[in-house]
């Protein structure tokens, strides 16, 4: 009985220590990225190329999702607001929901699923096929050449994607609210213009998306770089990227929202 309990405690302790080691490894990895960023900025074409792969290539899925999210928001919001006789406020509801929360959060979740997994798998496979070792043996730092450009591409892409997500979401909401549900066109836009604050809503949304960009890209890069160089190792790392990124985004969103509102 005591032996079994001891084993459980030992296993929990082992996992905890492992997590702390990995967290420390992640922090060290982040410091390396910062140190080697200067070297990677000198080859700006690499970062631009990665912005294309992580940002531009994610655009379609983001915009289609944003359109549907905006339409659903308008439908649900109209249904509730109508009961209180304030259906003209639908524009504000859609815009604030998107700019403050759904834009940054859903973009980050989609980014983790689309670009994050691609980054992890690519770097994990580069490691498994010794491409990173080959680079090191050629006296080229893989962090400067492979990792840092992807990091900055993710950080730059995320707020731009979130902004486009919010914009298309508002358009989706408009398409449902005005032509379909008959909300007044002028009321939709004017209420939105009057009640959405640039600093409190839009800037805070941008800050959130930058933080999510750092978190999601860091997790994807670290998981790929740290993956055991086997098919199973890369597969597990890819799964961990989605799970850890999603949890990190939701937790960070709560923390940031509480500071921004408080």
């Amino acid at each position: 009985m005591f032996s079994a309990m001891g084993n459980v405690v030992s296993r929990i302790g082992h996992r905890l220590i492992e997590r702390i080691w990995r967290f420390g490894g992640g922090i060290r990895f982040f410091c390396y990225i910062m140190i080697y960023s200067g070297e990677s900025f000198r080859r700006l074409h690499l970062t631009i190329r990665e912005i294309y792969f992580t940002g531009v290539m994610s655009l379609i899925i983001m915009l289609v999702s944003a359109f549907f999210v905006g339409m659903v928001l308008a439908l649900q919001g109209y249904n509730t607001l109508q009961k209180f006789g304030s259906s003209e406020a639908i524009g504000v509801l859609v815009a604030l929901s998107l700019v403050r929360e759904l834009g940054p959060v859903v973009t980050a979740l989609l980014f983790a699923g689309r670009a994050g997994t691609a980054i992890t798998a690519e770097i994990g496979l580069m490691k498994a096929t010794e491409q990173l070792s080959a680079m090191e043996m050629m006296a080229v730092s893989p962090i400067a050449r492979v990792v840092a450009p992807r990091f900055w591409a993710g950080v730059i892409s995320m707020p731009l994607l979130a902004a486009m997500f919010s914009m298309v979401g508002v358009l989706g909401g408009y398409m449902v609210a005005v032509p379909l549900l008959g909300v007044d066109n002028g009321a939709f836009w004017s209420q939105m213009q009057a009640n959405v604050d640039f600093r409190l809503d839009i800037v805070n949304g941008i800050i959130k998306s930058v933080v999510f960009g750092v978190a999601c890209t860091m997790i994807a890069l670290f998981e790929g770089y740290d993956a055991p160089p086997t098919a199973e190792g890369v597969s597990r790392a890819t799964t961990r990227t989605v799970v850890n990124s999603s949890l990190a985004v939701l937790a960070l969103d709560f923390v940031m929202t509480s500071f921004m509102i408080g």
Binding site: T129, E130, Q131, S133, A134, E136, M137, M138, A139, V140, R145
Partner: protein, 268 residues
């Protein structure tokens, strides 16, 4: 200047307390092609990584061009690596780049040559390995032997003083093997480099190398020219050179008593 471009002195290396190498001494003379041979898992590839500074020894040292590799800072290590070229077992070509771009990679990273000169250099290297015509292909469009040759062209792109080959014949057909053998010898002689070939293919290797080290159970068990080793009556060398299934290197992995194991039932 010493005659040996690489020296391994009393080198010990291991993982998690288990020593893989126990006091290894080797030297690699300039201009020679030297093979490191031994069974799978004998730490041959690890030796290459120790020479390249990707791993640090537990005891002893590796000297490259008179400098202790593991005592170098990053800049010093990268300076040493610029004198080295390495052919990895699977080629390790960058899959997002074409054959041309792969060979151009080290040139573009370490020189400021104009693009026209980079082009000429790359085509010359590819011509040397017989793949100038394949310069636009992607690594996924190459056979194993072709990928190995492109990797070889990339390894020698900056005319290194030391070229390291990790299992260059693994998985190749006899024609490709012969091509790679000839290329290793001819490139070494043309560049005046030193080649270190890690392999376990006896016949191919003995046909073109100058000197051979046999590694087993963490130590150098035999060394000499191919002719000397062919005549050697050391049990390990005899078993290895003649490809005998059993001998000093046992056929069976260490296990408990066979009969008792079989009678124990399903509980392995």
């Amino acid at each position: 200047m010493t005659d040996n471009i690489v020296e391994i002195n009393n080198l010990s290396f291991g993982y998690k307390g288990r020593l893989l190498h126990k006091g290894i001494n080797m030297s690699f003379a300039r201009g020679k092609v030297v093979a490191i041979m031994g069974g799978s898992g004998s730490g041959k590839t690890t030796l290459l990584r120790l020479i390249g500074g990707q791993l640090k020894p537990v005891h002893g040292e590796v000297k490259v061009d008179g400098q202790v590799v593991h005592k170098q800072d990053r800049a010093g290590l990268y300076n040493l690596r610029r004198k080295m070229g390495m052919l990895f077992q699977g080629g390790a070509l960058f899959t997002d780049l074409s054959v041309f771009e792969n060979v151009a990679f080290p040139i573009r990273e370490h020189t400021n040559l104009p693009e026209s000169m980079v082009r000429d250099l790359v085509l010359m290297k590819l011509q040397a390995v017989g793949l100038r015509g394949a310069n636009k292909l992607k690594p996924t469009e190459l056979s194993g032997g072709m990928a190995r040759r492109v990797a070889l062209a990339r390894a020698v792109a900056l005319d290194p003083a030391i070229i390291m080959y990790d299992e260059p014949f693994a998985g190749l057909d006899p024609i490709s093997m012969s091509v790679i053998c000839n290329l290793i010898r001819s490139l070494n002689d043309a560049l005046g480099a030193t080649s270190i070939v890690v392999t376990h293919d006896v016949n191919e290797t003995f046909s073109f190398v100058d000197y051979v080290y046999f590694v087993s159970q963490g130590v150098v068990v035999a060394e000499g020219t191919p002719d000397e080793l062919r005549k050697s009556d050391l049990p390990f060398v005899h078993q290895f050179v003649h490809g005998e299934a059993d001998g000093p290197v046992p056929f069976h992995y260490p296990a408990s008593d066979y009969k008792r194991d079989m009678l124990r039932g399903h509980d392995v």
